[in-house]
């Protein structure tokens, strides 16, 4: 069974700091990769996704993620965070041909103004 690891359960940053959230997965074959975000009191929504092509993926709100196949990683980055980025972030993996996502345990990001 595949697994997804998010190394940091809680991250606290000041506004304008740079962000990098780690995500590693265990499956050795081809994967589809996702980052979802859950703002306080809201539903999960898609930030960005990688299926194929350029391993550097740009998403909404200035977020980007880089797929490094050799490291089984898909880390999320943002050069300068804002208070409104306070949320829980989930990495997810799909194996092509299967219709479900496997999620990591999430990283709670708190940005102080």
């Amino acid at each position: 069974a595949q697994s997804v690891s998010q190394h940091n359960h809680h991250v606290i940053l000041s506004e304008a700091a740079s962000l990098e959230l780690g995500c590693n997965y265990s499956y050795g074959g081809t994967v589809n990769l996702f980052w979802y975000v859950q703002y306080p009191g809201q539903h999960l929504q898609l930030l960005l996704k990688y299926f194929s092509g350029d391993p550097l993926v740009k998403g909404i709100k200035g977020f980007e993620a880089e797929f490094i196949k050799s490291k089984f990683s898909f880390n999320l980055r943002k050069p300068s965070v804002q208070w409104s980025d306070t949320a829980e972030y989930f990495c997810a993996v799909n194996i092509p041909g299967y219709s479900t996502l496997t999620f990591g345990k999430g990283t709670m990001l708190l940005v102080s103004p």
Partner: protein, 112 residues
């Protein structure tokens, strides 16, 4: 509706009682998913529907859990003889493809 709708949004039930959670997916979405979100545990897959059939129900934690989908639309997740460890947020999601899965706001279940 515009998004995935779930009801009830909050449910408090006594241990041993049965509960039903409802999901109304986005119109036309053929795929429907149930996940469970527990504190510190992330999202745990429960069951996946394609149309009215469930090709993957591998995540249902016990035979107390069941789900059905009728008319290719509304789905109901039923938990029989609830236990305290069933307390969690139950999330429903729907999609046309894996490109974008839309989540509902969840049903928060508390078993006392």
């Amino acid at each position: 509706g515009a998004g995935v709708s779930q009801s009830p949004s909050n449910k408090v039930t006594e241990k041993g009682k049965d509960v039903e959670l409802r999901c109304d997916p986005i119109s036309g979405h053929t795929a429907l998913y149930w996940y469970r979100q527990s504190l510190g545990q992330g999202l745990e897959f429960l069951i996946y529907f394609q149309g009215n059939s469930a090709p993957d129900k591998s995540g249902l934690p016990s035979d107390r859990f069941s789900a059905e989908r009728t008319g290719g639309s509304v789905s109901t997740l039923t938990i029989q003889r609830t236990q305290q460890e069933d307390s969690a947020v139950y999330l429903c999601a729907s999609s046309l493809s894996l490109n974008t899965i839309y989540f509902g706001e969840g049903s928060w279940l508390t078993v006392v």
